[in-house]
């Protein structure tokens, strides 16, 4: 099918973008890479009356690495560009991004677009949650507000953006090379959305025990979930094979996957547990003494 008719704007000034989004009598959407929005429009799952293209707004193309390693990713920064930038400096982010679609998608699809679209089986929302990303949300009327991942992701394809607001940038804190990490996902074909996936990070304290362990699962519910209970059990305890095995039941109980055409809830739960324990073991193996 072809997309329904809409009006199109590509202003040069960020303020003009916000003005075009502010009119609440018009159903307006931002378009950057369009790698999720255009197919939704072609299926007529989305039929916005107005598209505001960000391609001419210089300020939104900014990809800044600050002196301390903090990454600020503007709304128009493509996944491929972030991948090239962090290939060596942020192995977890790089590994996760390399699982998004295909090179032909990543060369156009944006980081902020994937976050604002919030497919709960997508890689970037889970990475943002695991990595304490901060979301800069801007509107003409309300100015700027900053949200964390837990506040930003609401439910399937739903985020905390109010009418007139857009995601202007996302900030990832600096990555510490001592931190162990792992990114695992299960997809039926290369480049497909994952059925389920796991992100794990952990530090190794001076006494050789895990410190600040993180486990995020995705594809197991309406949004990526941090396994706080599992983290609490692992923190400071010996992270040997036995310790990791002991988390299986906790993980299985903490998630509520659903049946759909791609996989049953039970299959997803089983796969999520396997990916999670593998990810924890791999992250621990990669962690180094501080």
């Amino acid at each position: 099918m072809k997309p329904a008719a809409f009006e199109y704007h590509a202003p040069r000034e960020f303020d003009d973008v916000l003005e075009l989004l502010a009119d609440d009598s018009v159903d307006a959407r931002v378009i950057a890479g369009g790698q999720s929005l255009v197919p939704m429009m072609s299926f007529r799952l989305a039929a916005p009356e107005r598209l505001v293209d960000l391609r001419r707004v210089e300020a939104l193309r900014e990809l800044r690495v600050e002196a301390d390693g903090t990454l600020v990713v503007g709304a128009s920064v493509t996944q491929a560009r972030l991948l090239r930038t962090v290939e060596r400096s942020h192995p977890l982010l790089a590994e996760g991004i390399s699982h998004i679609g295909h090179p032909q998608i990543r060369s156009r699809g944006t980081v902020c677009g994937s976050l604002a679209h919030h497919d709960p089986t997508a890689e970037l929302p889970a990475l943002a949650l695991a990595l304490d990303a901060r979301f800069s949300v801007v509107s003409a009327e309300g100015g700027e507000r900053e949200l964390d991942a837990d506040e930003f992701f609401v439910s399937y394809y739903e985020v905390a953006l109010e009418p007139g607001e857009m995601l202007a940038s996302v900030t990832f804190p600096a990555w510490s090379g001592e931190r162990g990490w792992s990114f695992r996902e299960l997809a039926r074909r290369r480049g497909d959305f994952a059925l389920v996936g796991a992100v794990a990070t952990v530090e190794r304290s001076a006494s050789g025990t895990p410190s600040d362990p993180r486990l995020v699962l995705f594809g197991v519910g309406e949004r990526p979930v941090r396994m706080h209970e599992v983290e609490a059990v692992l923190d400071g305890a010996p992270l040997d094979a036995e310790g990791i095995e002991a988390t299986r039941a906790l993980i299985a109980d903490a998630i509520t996957p659903v049946d759909d055409v791609h996989a049953s809830a039970e299959y997803r739960r089983e796969a999520a547990v396997e990916l999670a324990v593998d990810a924890l073991a791999e992250a621990w193996g990669r962690s180094r003494d501080v």
Binding site: A5, A10, I31, G34, L51, A80, Q104, R108, R190, G191
Partner: protein, 198 residues
């Protein structure tokens, strides 16, 4: 709102076009219907199959996931730009031809654009890099074996026709075989079965 006419300027295969488009016109339809460049094929029209892959400012992208209006100011390369009708085939086309990297051919123009960009950026890709790039293009006929062979052959042709040993191939013997009296041709002989497939 549907009658909004947007003036766009694009360069397609080196030729400049200044024209008006409706906002909802996809780049695939712009190329095929407005410019009559029908080498870019439309398969799924929702970004899954890769048949419509073109290069936008040098990057392989799906033309069905881009509105023509978004391509304003861009340089686009389609399969028609790889080699003019009176020219020899582009090395990537030649490689697909030699290795029979196609069956029905519907997906081929998308593969050609993907592989052209891959080998431009990565002249000697790893198997993993080849698979990552080809994973974005669906071929329902071949099972990919000959397409991967085409990538390896194109790699050789672009490197000047020299054979590149496969990473897992046994090393080439350094002493010539006693029976080989003629030098190995650097350009392959024409494929015998050339005319066998319509």
């Amino acid at each position: 709102m549907s009658d909004q006419a947007l003036a766009i300027n694009v360069v397609v295969n080196g030729a400049e076009y200044a024209t008006d488009v409706e906002p909802r016109l996809l780049l695939t339809d712009f190329l095929r219907h407005k410019l009559r460049l029908t080498g870019t094929h439309v398969g799924c029209e929702h970004g899954v199959c890769g048949a419509c892959t073109v290069l936008i400012d040098g990057e392989p992208q799906r033309a069905c996931l881009v509105f023509a209006a978004q391509a304003d100011g861009c340089e686009i390369a389609t399969v028609e730009g790889l080699a003019a009708p009176d020219e020899p085939l582009h090395p990537v086309q030649q490689a697909f031809h030699e290795t029979h990297g196609m069956q029905c051919g519907f997906c081929t123009s998308g593969f050609l654009m993907t592989v052209t960009a891959l080998l431009r950026d990565t002249p000697h890709p790893s198997d993993e890099q080849v698979i990552d790039a080809l994973g974005g293009n669906i071929c329902r006929c071949t099972g990919y074996k000959n397409i991967v062979a085409a990538v390896r052959r194109a790699e050789e042709l672009l490197a000047g026709g020299e054979a590149v040993p496969a990473p897992d191939a046994p090393p080439t013997p350094t002493t010539p075989s006693p029976v080989a009296t003629e030098p190995t041709p650097t350009t392959p002989a024409p494929v015998a079965a050339e005319a066998g497939h319509g």
